[in-house]
Symmetry: C2
Subunit: 219 residues, 2 copies
């Protein structure tokens, strides 16, 4: 990453557009440095992976000195652990609640709601899905944390809605198809799926989820 001809290091410290140079010492009350570091770290780790993310870049985005990482989290690894124990879970969890606890438990419409909600959400936040995949595939412990979260907060709720047997397997199959669509549309950017409208994807994929939720899957 080093070398003679390299033009990185754009300042981009915080939102203050060229205010007075920050003096040394404790800042005025109200600044939650710890939270700012957590938020910045979540972004940078997702964008760059663990090795690619530098402490200086994270601190820079949070608008504080790199030494604060050591002071608050004991080092880069500690910050990473802290990020992983709070993986921005609320948004997704609330989203799933909105899909599932709806009064309408008819499987075909439940499936359609799942597909449409997630594709619409991922379409709106360009790059969010790819960042999630990068994060999950970059380190083993990330995958473990994500799996625990997904199982507890999402799959079990979907499985509870369908009265069928093998509900865990059924919910996992649904998740696998949704992740596959995301990989094809946002990461690999396969033409036919990347260019398709939300409606097209719903028409194509929702029946697959319906089948996973209702039909006999084993012998």
């Amino acid at each position: 990453m080093a070398g003679p001809a390299q033009d990185k290091d754009n300042p981009e410290q915080t939102e203050e557009g060229g205010g007075p140079a920050r003096r040394r010492g404790r800042r005025p009350a109200g600044a939650d440095t710890r939270a700012a570091l957590l938020a910045a770290a979540r972004e940078v780790f997702a964008e760059q992976g663990y090795a690619g993310a530098t402490v200086r870049a994270i601190a820079g985005r949070a608008g504080v000195d790199a030494a604060m990482v050591n002071h608050w989290f004991g080092g880069k690894q500690g910050l990473f652990s802290a990020v992983m124990e709070m993986p921005k879970a609320l948004d997704l969890a609330e989203l799933v609640s909105g899909i599932v606890y709806n009064g309408d438990r008819e499987p075909a419409r439940l499936a359609e709601r799942i597909v449409r909600t997630f594709v619409t959400l991922w379409d709106a936040n360009e790059g969010q899905f790819a960042a999630l995949i990068r994060s999950v595939s970059s380190q083993d412990i990330t995958a473990r944390v994500f799996r625990d979260f997904l199982t507890k907060e999402v799959l079990h709720r979907v499985a509870d809605q369908v009265g069928a047997d093998q509900s865990d397997l059924r919910a996992s199959l649904c998740a696998s198809q949704m992740v596959g669509v995301g990989m094809a549309r946002y990461v690999v950017k396969l033409g036919p799926l990347a260019d398709a409208s939300v409606d097209t994807i719903v028409r194509a994929v929702a029946p697959t989820l319906t089948r996973y939720l209702t039909e006999d899957i084993l012998g």
Copy 2:
């Protein structure tokens, strides 16, 4: 990555188990340093990502000096580009030929052959699928190269087998479900799919591919 207490740097140079210390200068004929670097780089980039992979680690695994990366590829980026332009395509391409050019074009059996072949292959080579995903999601140009390869060498061949309309979309949907199964089984390691037998996965997933290949997908 630096720090006071750190115990890395296990030699692990090449396969020669402690032979005479290699002398300086050109080595005897027959040693294809360029190819050795390419092979080592493919492994290390897949395992560590672009930022995590060091030139020293790659050269060490190839059994040569780190300076050879500059001599043969102009630097780390050049080596990465060279790796990506030859993404170990032959294995997968030949595999697909075996699945597709089989005489048996009946969609349901074609779908079953696809699912069984890929899951069996990925099961046999533990970590191969995860390494592929890490590689594809780590950098944009990797995703582009992989997409071009997948479209040309795999999807078009599958699409040619089914005489239906929208064959590109159909093949892409099949690929999305297979990638999703791989993510769930090998990367996130979702229990129900990670623990399931190959037969179970075939019974659950193959009908999905059959539907993508045959049924009316657009209203």
